[in-house]
Symmetry: C2
Subunit: 327 residues, 2 copies
C-alpha cells in the first residue's frame, strides 16, 4: 500500500516535494494544503488542493504531512500544531532555535503517538549527518563547513530592501585557497572573511545613486560587512537570463588524526553541488517522510532528527536488497 | 561506567583499534586475544594479552569484542562463533559473501541476545552509507565509486608471488578525467580501464628477468590485465623509504536529477583521504563497537550493519549536545 503524503504549503519547496513524490514508487501525494484560495492554486502534477481549514477532516487519509513553510514564522507554529494530528516532517533551519523547536514538537507528537522528524534538508540535514559520522570516527579533529557557490536568498532579500534597488541576486563563494588548505589537512584557523566571499548582481532603479547602493551593501552589518564583497550593476534582462536559478551547495570537511602520536592524517569530505536548492531539500524531506511513516508503524513516537533515523528507513527498497547492493 | 572492549587479533587492524580506544573517553581496552603465545606479544599501550583459549572465561568482563581478523578465512568462522558469547563488530569485506555472513551471524547472535555489527569500515562501511543516503535522496541517478590513490594490499601481494620479485607495492589511482566528468554530472559509462590505473613499484631479486616480471604483472588476469599498468623497478631502500605507508582513500559520487523533466542536476560526493587505511578502519570499528553495546542495552539483538544503526549511537557525546552542536 502506498504511503499517503500531504503537502502543507505550496511555494518552491512544496512544488519540489510534489515532484520528488513522482520519483517515489511507494508514495502518493494525496493533497496540497494552502492558506490561499484553493481554486487559485494549480499544482504541477494534478495533485488536489485543499484549504488548510480542511486539514483535520483529512486526518485519516494522510500518513505523513510534509511541512513546506518558512522557518521564521511558519514552522515554529505549524509543526507543533500539526504533530498533534499527523506524522510530520519539516525543514526548520534556524540553527540556534532547533533545541526549543524539538521540545515543542516532542510535547505535541509524543502523547498523540505521532512521529515527527524536524530540521531535514541539507544544512541542517545531510551536512549535520556528515559532521556526526566524521566526528564520531575521528574524535581528534576539526570540522569545516563551506557554503556555495550558491544563491543566498536571505542576502539577496537584504539587498532588495535597499532604496533604489529593483532586484538582486547574491552568491556566497568559498575562498578556494582556504578550501585547499583544509583539504590538505593543514587545519588552519579561518576568520569569516577568509572562508567566503560575496558577489552581488544588482538591478538599480532608474536614476538611483549607484555609489550609495554599493556602499550600503558593503557596509551592511552581519550580512556583508565582515566579507570581501563585490557588487555588479546589471540590467533586469541580464539578471533574469544569467541568474534566474537557485543553485547552491557546499562542503563539510573533517580533518583528523590517528596513531600513537597523531602521526596519521585523515580527511573526510562531503560535498553537494545542487542546481536547485529547493528541489534537493524537497527530495531529502520525502526520504525522511518515508522514514517517519515507518518509525510510526513500529511504535517509535515523538520528535526525531536525521541523527536518530537508521539510514535503511530512507529508501523504498527492501533492507535485504540494499544490503546486497550497497555493502 | 566505561564500555569494556576486547580486541580479537593483533595485526595492523588490532593495533589501530587499541590506539582508537585511547581517543574514546567512554571506552577501555581490557584485553587483546591472540592465537600466538601471549608472552610473545607486546601491545602499544600496555593492554594485557591473553590466549584466544581464555576468551570464554573473560565473557563477563567484556562488553564488546572487536574482531580484527581477515575476511578470507578468519571472520567467516570467528564472527559467528564469538557472536554466541559476545556483542561483536567486524570488518568483513568480501562484498559478494556479506548476505551469507549476515545470516550466519544473525543465527548465532539472536538466540543468545547478542548484538553484532558486521562489514564495518570504509568500503563496505562509510562508502555504503554514502551510497545509501544519496540513493534514497536522488532515486533518479547513478552511483560511481573510485578508489585511491592508495595501496592495494591484495595487488601488492599478487606481485610478490611472481618469481624473481623480492618486494612490491601497488597503487590504485583514479583516472582524473573520468572523475572530473562524473563530478560535472555528465553520467559517463566507464569501463574498468577508464576508471583506474595501476602503478607498481617492484624490487627484483638479483639477476631476475625484468622484462618477464613486467609482462607477468601487466597480463595477470583480474588483477592487472584489464587496466593500464605501469611498472617501476626500484631498490629495496627506495621502496622502504618512499612507499612504506599504507595510505588509501576514494570517492563515492551520486549524480542525479530532479524537476518536472529531470532538468536539475545534483552531485553528491563523499571522499576519504587516509594516511593509514588500517587505523581509519579501526576508528570506524570502535565507533560501531560503541553502537553495538548501546543497541544491546536497549534490547536490539541480532546481526546489524552500518545501514541499520542510528547515527547518534556512534558518538560518546550526549544526544542533546550533538543535536545542539551539529544540526
Amino acid at each position: 500500500m502506498s504511503i499517503r503524503v500531504g503537502i502543507y504549503g505550496y511555494g518552491n519547496l512544496g512544488r519540489g516535494v510534489e515532484l520528488a513524490l513522482k520519483n517515489s514508487p511507494d508514495m502518493t501525494a494525496v493533497g496540497v494544503f494552502t492558506r490561499r484560495n484553493p481554486d487559485s492554486v494549480q499544482t504541477l502534477t494534478g495533485v488536489p488542493v485543499y484549504s488548510v481549514n480542511e486539514m483535520e477532516n483529512k486526518k485519516d487519509e494522510i500518513d505523513v504531512m510534509v511541512l513546506c513553510g518558512g522557518s521564521s514564522t511558519d514552522l515554529p507554529q505549524q509543526t507543533p500544531t500539526l504533530a498533534q494530528h499527523f506524522n510530520v516532517v519539516d525543514s526548520f533551519d534556524t540553527h540556534a532555535k532547533i533545541p526549543q523547536h524539538l521540545k515543542n514538537v516532542e510535547a505535541a507528537a509524543l502523547p498523540n503517538k505521532k512521529t515527527a522528524i524536524i530540521s531535514v534538508g541539507w544544512d541542517p540535514g545531510m551536512f549535520s549527518l556528515a559532521r556526526m559520522y566524521s566526528g564520531a570516527i575521528l574524535p581528534q579533529g576539526k570540522d569545516y563547513t563551506f557554503w556555495g557557490k550558491g544563491v543566498s536568498q536571505g542576502h539577496s532579500d537584504a539587498i532588495r530592501r535597499i532604496e533604489g534597488v529593483a532586484d538582486a541576486k547574491q552568491y556566497t563563494i568559498p575562498v578556494e585557497s582556504a578550501l585547499q588548505a583544509v583539504r590538505k589537512g593543514e587545519n588552519p584557523n579561518l576568520s569569516v572573511r577568509e572562508k567566503h566571499t560575496r558577489e552581488c548582481f544588482v538591478v538599480a532603479k532608474e536614476g538611483a545613486d549607484l555609489a550609495r547602493i554599493e556602499n550600503e551593501i558593503k557596509t551592511m552589518p552581519n550580512y556583508f560587512a565582515d566579507y570581501d564583497t563585490t557588487v555588479h550593476f546589471i540590467s533586469q534582462e541580464e539578471l533574469n537570463e544569467k541568474h534566474g536559478g537557485l543553485p547552491h551547495g557546499g562542503v563539510v570537511i573533517r580533518s583528523g588524526v590517528t596513531g600513537k602520536n597523531g602521526e596519521h592524517k585523515h580527511v573526510i569530505e562531503y560535498s553537494l553541488k545542487l542546481d536547485s536548492n529547493a528541489e534537493f531539500t524537497a527530495s531529502v524531506l520525502v526520504a525522511y517522510a518515508r522514514a517517519a511513516y515507518r518509525l510510526n508503524k513500529e511504535g517509535v513516537f515523538g520528535c526525531k532528527t536525521v541523527l536518530d533515523v537508521p539510514p535503511v528507513y530512507l529508501s523504498f527498497e527492501d533492507r535485504e536488497d540494499l544490503l546486497a547492493k550497497l555493502l
